[in-house]
Symmetry: C2
Subunit: 431 residues, 2 copies
């Protein structure tokens, strides 16, 4: 890990830099994939799956009995863990369900704002060396809670040409019915345009590699909503003399094992703690199955020595991490000052992996500084807010003149007329 002793804002640039990742270079190649799916639908989908995944799925669509059968294949320990996680995710997300807001803005002018589920959403969960069933829970549970009518899940086939059972089980627990065994840019294209088998959706969500990201960007240019731009996963840990070095090291490594491009930042108030943490990293790294990946990731990572927790928080807000761990007993002194982060983990007993799986918060979070302007997936992600207004005679009298004055000053006579006709009808009810 590179070491920086923070001295002034000049150092910030080096700390917050992410590896340049320009998925825009991929846009032409991905556009070609999108066009193929748009033109040839399922046939192109099968052809591209054979080409990119090296396997021919028996069927794009997973049958209901396959979903049901998943529960007979996986261990009861894993089933219980998935069920516990699902229950916690449900509890935290259902509490977010927005209530309809009603305001009498001025007498006779009644306005309201109502959240309504997006009708058709497409969830994407990437493949990988192991089945990412936790991402199925994180996307599917709030979609079902929000009341989305059509929820489509696409995920690529594994080496055996199928969707792994733990993912099907997570989908079953979440209440999904439409699961398709396709991945990559071709899956995003299918949900953008629709094919004979896969429905066109209104919004596409979920993580993915650079091809998936590029495809989501192109989908957005087509008018399909997407959740957020995606980049490599990242964590920033704030540590001080009250931190447990073994825990901090384990948290840094749990991020580093994700991929060689993972970003790991340690911001610490104490050099002796930094030494203790580094020693723990060395020891814990030795026995990790993904040691090579984690070692690579750590090479791109940074340790920053700061003078106090305030300075640490300033750096964190500038970095805008996907995950922020405040591994200090004094977390309450700075946690109210978090302005840019996806999800925050407070104190020594709250590892990022808690939120990755089972604390109830979502793990689909903004990366690469997107936390400055984007939220992680939450109930809002699956809803839009519609405003309503209903005006009475009294209300027309209260705002009618202001409306017509403003309309006339914007040279929109018909806008003024629409209000003036109502105003006149009230003032002269006999005409």
């Amino acid at each position: 890990m590179q070491y920086i002793q923070y001295q002034s804002e000049k150092d910030l640039e080096r700390i917050i830099a992410r590896p340049t990742l320009d998925s825009n270079d991929l846009l032409p190649a991905v556009q070609e994939i999108m066009n193929k799916i748009k033109t040839n639908g399922d046939n192109a989908l099968i052809e591209l799956t054979e080409k990119f995944d090296g396997t021919k799925p028996r069927s794009i669509c997973i049958e209901k009995d396959q979903i049901e059968a998943s529960s007979t294949v996986i261990s009861s320990e894993l089933k219980q863990a998935i069920e516990l996680a699902a229950a916690n995710i449900k509890k935290f997300h259902s509490a977010q369900n927005p209530k309809t807001l009603e305001v009498e803005v001025t007498p006779g002018v009644n306005c309201s704002q109502k959240a309504v589920a997006i009708e058709k959403v497409g969830l994407y969960v990437p493949g990988g060396t192991a089945p990412l069933f936790s991402s199925v829970l994180m996307l599917a549970i709030p979609a079902v809670l929000a009341g989305c009518k059509e929820i489509v899940l696409c995920t690529p086939p594994n080496r055996q040409g199928k969707v792994p059972e733990p993912m099907l089980y997570a989908a079953k627990v979440a209440g999904l019915k439409k699961i398709y065994c396709v991945g990559g840019a071709q899956a995003i294209a299918a949900m953008t345009f629709g094919t004979e088998t896969i429905p066109k959706v209104d919004k596409i969500l979920g993580p993915g590699n650079q091809y998936v990201t590029a495809a989501k960007q192109l989908a957005f240019l087509q008018g399909t909503a997407i959740d957020m731009p995606a980049g490599p996963s990242e964590v920033l840990v704030i540590a001080d003399e009250t931190s447990n070095p073994a825990f901090v090291a384990a948290d840094l490594l749990s991020q580093a094992e994700h991929g060689v491009d993972s970003q790991v930042i340690l911001v610490c108030t104490s050099n002796s703690q930094i030494r203790a943490i580094n020693k723990e990293i060395e020891q814990q790294l030795e026995i990790l199955p993904r040691k090579l990946i984690a070692t690579e990731a750590l090479k791109n990572s940074t340790t920053v020595l700061v003078s106090d927790l305030e300075e640490a928080m300033f750096i964190s807000n500038s970095y805008a991490p996907e995950h922020l761990i405040i591994a200090s007993e004094n977390f309450e002194s700075i946690s109210p000052k978090v302005t840019n982060a996806g999800s925050v983990f407070l104190g020594n007993l709250t590892p990022e992996s808690a939120g990755d799986y089972a604390s109830g918060t979502n793990h689909t979070l903004p990366t690469n500084m997107a936390a400055r302007a984007f939220s992680g997936v939450n109930m809002d992600t699956f809803m839009k807010k519609i405003t309503f207004q209903q005006i009475t005679e009294k209300g027309v009298q209260n705002i009618g003149e202001a409306v017509s004055t403003m309309a006339l000053n914007e040279e929109l006579q018909a806008h003024a007329n629409a209000m003036l006709l109502r105003l006149n009808s009230i003032q002269n009810p006999l005409t």
Copy 2:
């Protein structure tokens, strides 16, 4: 207006079609503008303003005394109207301010969700034949209420090379301080990359022409958040035998006068009402200053005869209008069934122009079917929601095993370790 007697879902396609508008064709030209601003900053901004707006602004940045002086120039009638509108917009938007949500998901696992203002936002208000000061209010008031620290407004110079006073006055009432006299794709580029004068922002909002839309799309590909895709304005009016034909005609015309590409849809349960409304349109159109524009817009517009209000609502939800007016005394029978719309106007006394200016709702709304997945501008637009979790010993005991089981099944050993170390430290406090 084309006339369709609705018979089956086969007719939907013709009704919901928008004029094809592919701003993607403009992307290369707009990319060039973006690159110029990125490379040459203010110099390019001045050069492009001269080229596209045909005027050389005395200064890009509007000075504080110019903003203050606006109040001495405009009529007290307009000032009062702007102040009344601003008060209503403030009241409705401040009621939307999200509260922090705190949930003990399971004993010892405390999760919360907190809305935090986006630090830097860029507002764009297009030019036009007349100053669109209402759009300044609609974008600036919620940005200020949300607590955004840096709020930048860009708007093009008028023919006199300056920002019209009513816009400055609206900005003053809303509490804006940073106003820049630049427009078009070059203004979006300036807010995306920053120049010597104009700050780089985290999110760009506001309406604009196809060049502005294309520039916002390119900004999005750069990682800058945007509000929503923009297209021509549109209204769908549902009418029945209880509607007032003069009011309906006025509402349709107020949309038609926006531009030749405006979309106007009338969905009515009664042929005699359609005749009465058409007669009113003819009469009212005659005396409109923007008669030519409105006449053109009406040519692309559609009247649909339906059998009842239920069918009308089905068509409206399929069309997903930016503005929906339910011009019926029976609006309550169908308004709960609205699933896709930007803003909804209920009853005979609630014209769209009320919401355009002063009812308190926002008029920056999703067009071109984006209402299926996007909200209009609201307080959420200026905030992101950050999740927090804090876990106690009890919490680690409650979810620790589930987390490690899931992590191991996703082959992420370090994720499991991070939780197991905590679990062990609690179970064996002496080690």
